[in-house]
């Protein structure tokens, strides 16, 4: 009986997944020690506001804390912030900290997330006036960089969610933003062309200059300005560059332990890795999505929270099964995009443009089956979409795309 109080669960990574796992362990009845480690020295915080409210308003990151400090004390979660982990030894069950100390564990959860990816383009090196955005510290550096710009002329590289959110925020702060995207449309990896076009027009109306089909060739610095030269010969100048093209999953520790990896750390339905007593959750996990059947890696709060609960439950012997439909959101200027489901396999689209409003919803189908909904300024479409996907409802697509027919279940179900 005494043993369970002596057991140690170490969690590496204290963002959404790691923090939720720590609290979920207590909720599921873990009576041993919980040690939560992160290289970021700040009290763990919400990451989504980094590119939105926190960038626009600045201030202290504590305002966005996931939990106040005293809740860690109350739950007896030992925080080790500002600490690096060098490696994991899965056979001897210990980790090696940056200061050379070893820390033994009984259970280990890797919630190591991902790092901002910087494409290998000559001259595009993070440093003086070239930034990425992944942490609170990154935001402070961007704000500091912005303060040094005389004209506030900024180039944002990447037209996915992060690039668009950064462009919107900087633009709201009075910057002249030019967004450069390699593909011929925005959000090309996740959305259909209708959503891409909507955001292209929307950003243009708000004063962001959107440059599509522009593949960067090299970046040159001349005095206080950069010249961004594209492969088609066009050039853009900027005093500051923010790179927002996506992430590279962080596999260093997983590899040091010899864990199986693919595009992430491979896990089973209980978030167990290939080595006993090591789990992986959140942005870094390569997992099978039960609802969609594919192996995938998801970068979202919902995925982080859900996998944290599953791992905690399995560690405590309760084997909770959860299979929510993935959901995401993005706020840009005053527009809200809400997404539910995964679009990868769609073969048919149903676009619904509400009359007299700026609401748009796109319904993605595979055959008759609704697999995803993207709703712009349209929470009702998002909520109903979630419900229909969960229930496996069959919809009358003609009625669905007719804005004269109210968006109500009894009116649009087939």
């Amino acid at each position: 009986m005494l043993d369970r109080y002596k057991q140690v669960c170490v969690i590496i990574g204290a963002s959404h997944a790691g923090v939720y796992a720590a609290f979920a362990l207590r909720k599921e009845g873990w009576e041993g020690k919980i040690i939560l480690i992160d290289r970021d020295p700040n009290l763990p915080y919400h990451r989504p506001p980094l590119s939105k409210k926190f960038l626009v308003n600045g201030g202290e990151i504590e305002k966005f804390a996931l939990k106040p400090l005293n809740s860690y004390h109350k739950a007896e979660i030992q925080l080790e912030l500002g600490k690096n982990v060098q490696s994991v030894n899965g056979q001897e069950k210990h980790i090696l900290l940056g200061d050379g100390n070893k820390l033994s564990y009984d259970k280990l959860i890797l919630a190591t997330g991902a790092d901002a990816f910087v494409p290998p383009i000559p001259g595009l090196e993070v440093g003086k006036q070239i930034f990425t955005l992944r942490s609170a510290e990154d935001v402070k550096e961007i704000l500091n960089g912005l303060a040094h710009c005389r004209q506030k002329q900024i180039a944002v590289v990447g037209g996915g969610f992060i690039g668009l959110e950064i462009a919107a925020s900087l633009s709201q702060m009075g910057a002249q933003v030019c967004l450069i995207e390699r593909e011929l449309r925005l959000l090309s990896r996740v959305s259909c062309p209708e959503i891409s076009d909507w955001f292209e027009n929307f950003h243009a109306e708000k004063g962001v200059s959107i440059e599509l089909g522009k593949e960067l060739k090299h970046v040159k610095r001349s005095g206080d300005t950069f010249v961004l030269e594209c492969k088609d010969g066009t050039e853009f100048s900027a005093e500051m560059i923010v790179v927002g093209v996506g992430v590279k999953v962080n596999l260093t520790l997983a590899k040091s332990a010899g864990l199986d990896t693919a595009n992430g750390i491979s896990v089973n339905g209980f978030m167990q890795t290939s080595i006993q007593d090591i789990y992986a959750i959140g942005d870094c996990s390569w997992h099978k999505n039960e609802a969609y059947g594919d192996m995938m890696r998801l970068e979202s709060v919902q995925n982080a929270v859900e996998q944290a609960k599953i791992a905690a439950s399995h560690i405590c012997g309760n084997d909770k099964k959860l299979s929510n439909i993935p959901w995401f959101w993005s706020d840009q200027f005053d527009a809200k995009l809400q997404m539910v489901g995964l679009t990868t396999a769609y073969d048919k689209l149903c676009v619904r443009k509400e009359s007299n409003s700026n609401s748009l919803s796109v319904w993605y189908f595979k055959g008759e089956k609704l697999i995803a909904v993207h709703a712009i300024n349209h929470p009702k479409a998002y909520v109903l979409g979630t419900k229909f996907i969960k229930d496996g409802s069959i919809l009358d697509q003609n009625k669905l795309q007719n804005p004269q027919i109210d968006l109500k279940p009894d009116l649009i179900l087939a």
Binding site: S71, D331, K336, P379, V383
Partner: protein, 103 residues
């Protein structure tokens, strides 16, 4: 300062003192079961759903359009449903009772 009373789906009553911020932030700071606030308070996830007791409904006020739409087809929604991330704490709310909608 206002005392906010949460009643969980398990029937537990938890009273917490708050001064500012949203009800959701107060709830997550003390870890009220069923109030998660996964999206951080931007009205995107509906994981902070509460029912407001009758006496306080007028004081709390009406939900904005976006919040109403988030709740309209929520299977747990009732007449007195609100998303607690959209309710700011003020002295007027002192003594309020909020039933947590989710387990």
């Amino acid at each position: 300062m206002a005392v906010i009373n949460f009643i969980t789906q398990e029937g537990e009553k938890i009273s917490v003192e708050g001064t500012s911020g949203s009800i959701m932030e107060l709830a997550t700071s003390v870890g009220i079961a069923g109030l998660d606030g996964d999206c951080g308070g931007v009205c995107s996830c509906a994981t902070c759903h509460v029912y407001v007791n009758e006496t306080y409904r007028k004081i709390v006020g009406e939900a904005e359009k976006i919040e109403k739409e988030m709740l309209e087809f929520d299977e747990l929604a009732k007449e007195n449903s609100r998303l607690s991330c959209q309710i700011e704490i003020s002295e007027k709310l002192d003594g309020i009772e909020l039933i947590v909608a989710r387990e």
